[in-house]
């Protein structure tokens, strides 16, 4: 089984967080279309803190990185997404064995725990037009992978993207976009976009 060295994974997480930060305007416009327009701002702030928290860690494994990044995000992000994404990474990190180098199976299991925590926290389910609709298929795809982590993460990212695209056809039933009802049709969910951008950059960072 092929695993990652610590610094490589940590560096990839930082790069993925930076990619979300760099997508601020795209995410803002997406939330303007179906929500209150603050998603890009909150996520840029939260993932900036995520990246900064990792920079402060010396020699940390994947578990510690995800925990620290998640905690920082949760504390600084604010809004629905700060809680949702903060919960996701924190719970993912908690589920990963402390000193293990992650392989696709372990990571998929950890992310699945993170996703479960998100569902417990926010009470949304697949089909509600949230980041869950990107995360759930993405984690399922990762769980199927047996090979090297980079390729596995690329499969995960591709599944996230198609999950995100599928949210265009969903009617929002949660969060600030809920009130939009039918009018949210045709627009992708901002949180699903954030999740996808993160996965794609994580995969790129490990190539």
């Amino acid at each position: 089984m092929i695993t990652m060295d610590r610094t490589g994974f940590k560096a990839a997480l930082v790069a993925a967080a930076e990619a979300v930060v760099a997508s601020k305007d795209v995410l803002t416009r997406a939330d303007q279309a179906i929500g209150d327009g603050d998603h890009g701002i909150g996520m840029a702030r939260g993932f900036r803190a995520f990246a900064d928290a990792l920079a402060k860690l010396d020699d940390a494994g994947a578990s510690a990185c995800l925990q620290a990044g998640g905690k920082a995000l949760m504390m600084t992000g604010g809004g629905a997404s700060g809680a949702i994404f903060g919960t996701f990474y924190t719970a993912s990190g908690n589920a990963l064995e402390a000193e293990a180098e992650p392989d696709p199976t372990a990571l998929a299991a950890a992310f699945a725990a993170g996703l479960q925590a998100v569902k417990d926290r926010g009470r949304a389910k697949a089909g509600d037009k949230t980041m869950i609709d990107a995360a759930e298929p993405a984690i399922a795809a990762l769980a199927q992978q047996q090979g090297a982590l980079p390729a596995a993460l690329e499969a995960m990212a591709a599944a996230a993207r198609s999950g995100m695209e599928a949210t265009r056809d969903m009617v929002a039933t949660t969060g600030k976009a809920r009130a939009l009802g039918e009018r949210s049709l045709g627009h992708p969910d901002p949180g699903a976009m954030t999740f996808t951008i993160f996965c794609e950059a994580l995969a790129r960072g490990l190539r």
């Binding site: 603050d38 600084t76 809004g79 629905a80 600030k176 009130a179």
Partner: protein, 337 residues
Amino acid sequence: MTKTKKLINAPEDIIPQLIAGMVAAHPDMLTVEGPTGRAVVAVDGPRDGKVGVVVGGGSGHEPAFAGYVGRGLADAAAVGNIFASPSPEQILDAARAADGGAGVLLLYGNYTGDVMNFTMAAEELAAAGTPVRQVQVADDVASAPVERRGERRGIAGDFFVFKVAGAAADLGEPLARVEALARKANDATLSMGVALGACSLPQTGKPNFEIGDDEMEIGMGLHGEPGIRRDKLAPADQVTDTLLEAILSEMAPARGDRVAVLVNGLGSTSLVELYILFARLRQVLDARGITIYRSWVGEYATSLEMAGASITLMRLDDELAALLDHPCRTPAVTVGA
């Protein structure tokens, strides 16, 4: 589309400078406590044996939420970023400052982000041994049908719920009772708004939604969440009738019932307009034989510089009326001078 002009400095300094200004302007009422710098606390509020009343939510709704901090109303407010729930850490700062040993009641509008962040804070408090309860204000009739009242958003009705809970806590009621009264106030309070123009987040400077030059959106939320329909802009009397009809048909007050009224401006709508709405509201309630017990007209829950207004009614019994009458002194509201 040009950038909306605002009197601000760097966007990231907005909230710290807002808080610094509030506390500097009202040093007799407000102070800041805790490491996050986001908990605005009543100088003369929290005290031993009194239930701590904590409010909060995103910024951009001023005077909500920190403007309601002061003796007889809220003990502390957690101040989020513009239109974003405060984080658990910020809420904990407010709750710890408000805690007088008799427990803490968290009050906020019913938005996913606020629910999650306040709930995380509540879990943390409970784990540390502080008795804690939460009530989510859900007064906006436009945001969900009555069968799904629990899903409704909180808008200007916040003020009535905070006022009732703040009075109950100030009178020394125990936590369960303060919570029950807040729920009772929430159940008795219905609101609906109308938007005529957008606002813009300071960080983007762009309008947060588009609306036609001759349109209004009935039922739009405090963050530009769409309402129940777009209509051609109508005369004020007709708009008032539409909002009131939605509220009254659900509330169904009887002849002789008493209500408290709040006509709230969303930001750039003038007092002239708000009083014109009130004049019509008074006619409608008079015709139905409903008594206005107390009323407030002005800006109580805004949406930056959004154009529009909301109407809130709270149906009163003697208990709620007495709690509304209880004195309070905050930057936004003074009762019982």
